[in-house]
């Protein structure tokens, strides 16, 4: 699950940063000349900077390989189910709300008034995918459900006083 990885990665680096700040604060009361400190730590900085850039490059390349914008490559025989979604203050109008497990689905999402956010949640209230529902534009989300159950569409862009009540349901058999 992406959220889990994101949280662990964040927690790890945040802990490292905390440790470094605590260390420097603990060492702040000694008094040494600045010149040698600077010389030594400028050298370390070059190493640290280069490492950071390389790490960022690696993560960038790794995380950009597959993007949610890319239409999946469907098998020769499979046709995706295209679902037209229109958001209105405050509800979801969907051309279809019943699907089956393994069925590739494309939600084509737009809005007839203000901007809304189309967020697909599973029954444990985990966010699986989202896109913006904008007037005059159609954004697409691709998803294939691999578990049956009731899924919910929650609004993820503030759209007015019933924003939090704008909940739709879809069934996957």
């Amino acid at each position: 699950m992406v959220q889990m990885v994101a949280s662990i990665v964040s927690l790890f680096f945040m802990s490292v940063i905390t440790a470094i700040f605590v260390f420097v604060a603990a060492k702040s009361q000694e008094r040494r000349e600045y010149k040698p400190i600077k010389k030594k730590w400028y050298k370390a900085r070059t190493f640290y900077g280069v490492t950071l850039v390389i790490a960022m490059l690696v993560v960038t390349i790794y995380t950009l390989r597959e993007l949610p914008y890319d239409q999946p490559v469907y098998g020769a025989e499979t046709e995706p189910t295209i679902v037209d979604v229109e958001a209105v203050q405050f509800g979801w109008i969907m051309s279809e709300t019943e699907f089956s497990v393994g069925e590739p689905i494309e939600f084509h999402v737009t809005s007839s008034d203000v901007t809304h956010g189309f967020g697909i949640y599973d029954k444990d209230k985990n966010l699986l995918a989202q896109t913006q529902a904008m007037p005059e534009y159609t954004n697409e989300v691709y998803i294939t459900f691999d578990k049956p159950g009731t899924y919910e569409i929650l609004c993820l862009e503030y759209c007015g006083l019933a924003h939090h009540a704008m909940i739709g349901k879809i069934e996957v058999k």
């Binding site: 008034d113 209230k125 985990n126 995918a129 989202q130 006083l161 019933a162 924003h163």
Partner: protein, 491 residues
């Protein structure tokens, strides 16, 4: 009193007004923050209308007040290097207050609640929650406030160009290119001020355009605009303006840490390059707010991720690293000023981590517009930018009066740190649980972190109250004492 001292005193008066207005608004807005969390946690019964009005006033008020206070910090230090117009700084403050009053009336008397992002066409299409009057009061209030800031940055730009020749020279490009020696580089204050001048003139122009678009649409809904263009302008304005707060406030870090440690923090080439990078990236990475708009050109969204990563480099490799180096084995004297300033660098850097994670497109796909987002920016804003501002307030109080720091202040320091960490941590946990942001109510499984956050928020607000009390004690004390021309208390 000598002319120099009275000049200094009147300059300080202006800065003090900026900080007082900023500090009081920030404190007041915290109350709304706590009320929102209590409502989300199911502990307080708040109508959705009230919740979204609180959300609107909290977002607008916090960004506005922190920007004002940070502008005061920048003005204080920048005016030691260049000649700034006091008139314009006063006009900015006046327009700010007028704008704030209009926003407050619009939100509370006319129930206007578009959130501080006023995403087109929401101001005009509210499903009858608010009317034209509320929308116009809010939008014009923001426009007036924005014009004040625009004048402010036009003046800082003018003053920098007058003294250094051009904004490029203010960023030290002649040093980067080797035309000028490193030792003649502009000071870190000048470099940061030039950066903020450039990005905020851009941001405020974008903001003014999209505000006017909204105003026209509210007055006559037959006039419509491209919603994607409006969204780009909105986030160009919002992202840049909110981020500029820390780039203004960080001037206090450079100046105060070098003073406290008796170590120079000079602008060398890597420093200048880092600030040029920050200038460029801050202008373009607002697209990371639009990663969930697949109609945007794909290359722009990929650049949104790549440049958001890169935008972490200047702070991670130069500014934070520099702050650590200057403090390391320096024998620094810790007090509230230096403590908050050091804390602020920590707040900035820890806040960068979840921000960078969220700028990753695959992560953003499941974390965009969840409470992960307020999770990272409360760290960055409250523990980063605001701690810089409050640290500066203690520094100024020490320099400019003889009020003593007390044990309450130290307790408040601890309370503030733990409060913001608890608050931001609760937001991050909520985000990891997929809780949407800006929801007036939460499902039961999402309530616990909100209640925890409310408690942390109370601790934060109480601690900030102590900071403000100290500042008020300084205000009443400063007029009684003669000023020493150059303070020696810090050395």
């Amino acid at each position: 009193m000598s002319a120099v001292i009275s000049e200094k005193k009147s300059r300080n008066n202006l800065v003090v007004s900026y900080l007082t207005v900023g500090g009081i608004i920030i404190l007041a807005m915290m109350v709304f923050g706590v009320l929102m969390l209590l409502a989300q946690g199911g502990s307080l019964n708040l109508s959705p209308a009230a919740f979204y009005q609180f959300l609107t006033i909290h977002g607008t008020g916090m960004v506005g007040a922190a920007a004002l206070a940070a502008a005061g910090v920048m003005w204080y230090f920048l005016s030691k290097y260049v000649e700034l117009s006091k008139k314009i700084a006063q006009v900015n403050l006046a327009l700010f207050l007028i704008g704030v009053v209009m926003v407050i009336i619009g939100v509370f008397s006319f129930e206007y609640a578009s959130a501080w992002t006023f995403l087109y066409p929401l101001p005009a299409i509210s499903a009858n929650a608010w009317g034209v009057t509320g929308a116009l009061l809010y939008l014009f209030g923001m426009l007036i406030l924005g014009i004040g800031f625009l004048l402010f940055y036009l003046d800082t730009g003018r003053a920098i160009i007058k003294k250094y020749g051009s904004l490029a020279k203010g960023l030290g490009w002649d040093v980067i290119s080797g035309k000028k020696a490193e030792k003649d580089a502009p000071s870190s204050t000048i470099v940061a001020s030039t950066m903020v001048t450039i990005v905020n003139i851009t941001a405020l122009t974008a903001g003014a355009i999209v505000l006017i678009m909204n105003i026209i649409n509210v007055i006559n809904p037959a006039f419509t605009f491209d919603p994607l263009l409006a969204k780009n302008l909105t986030f160009a304005f919002g992202h840049i303006f909110a981020n500029s707060i820390i780039y203004m406030a960080v001037i206090a870090v450079y100046e105060i840490l070098s003073k406290y440690t008796n170590r120079p923090w000079k602008a060398n080439k890597p420093f200048l390059i880092a600030w040029t990078m920050s200038t460029a990236f801050t202008l373009v990475i607002y697209t990371h707010h639009m990663l969930m708009d697949s109609v945007m050109p794909k290359w722009m969204l990929i650049m949104g991720q790549v440049l958001s990563y890169a935008n972490g480099l200047p702070v991670l490799v130069i500014t934070a690293y520099g702050a650590l180096m200057i403090v390391y084995k320096s024998g620094i004297k810790w007090d509230m000023g230096s403590g908050l300033i050091f804390l602020s660098m920590f707040g900035w850097v820890v806040g960068v981590v979840p921000a960078i994670v969220d700028a990753t497109i695959v992560v953003n796909h499941v974390m965009h517009n969840t409470k992960w987002v307020p999770g990272h920016f409360h760290m960055y804003m409250a523990l980063g930018a605001c701690a810089m501002i409050f640290g500066f307030m203690y520094y100024l109080a020490k320099e400019d009066s003889n009020v003593e720091e007390q044990i309450f202040d130290k307790i408040a320091f601890l309370g503030y740190t733990l409060g913001i960490l608890g608050l931001s941590g609760s937001f991050l946990v909520s985000g990891a649980l997929s809780t949407p942001r800006r929801w007036a109510t939460h499902f039961p499984e999402w309530m616990a972190p909100a209640n925890f956050g409310a408690a942390a928020g109370v601790l934060t607000a109480l601690s900030l109250t102590m900071f403000v009390v100290h500042f008020i004690r300084y205000l009443s004390n400063r007029n009684k004492v003669e000023m020493s021309p150059e303070s020696k208390k810090l050395a």
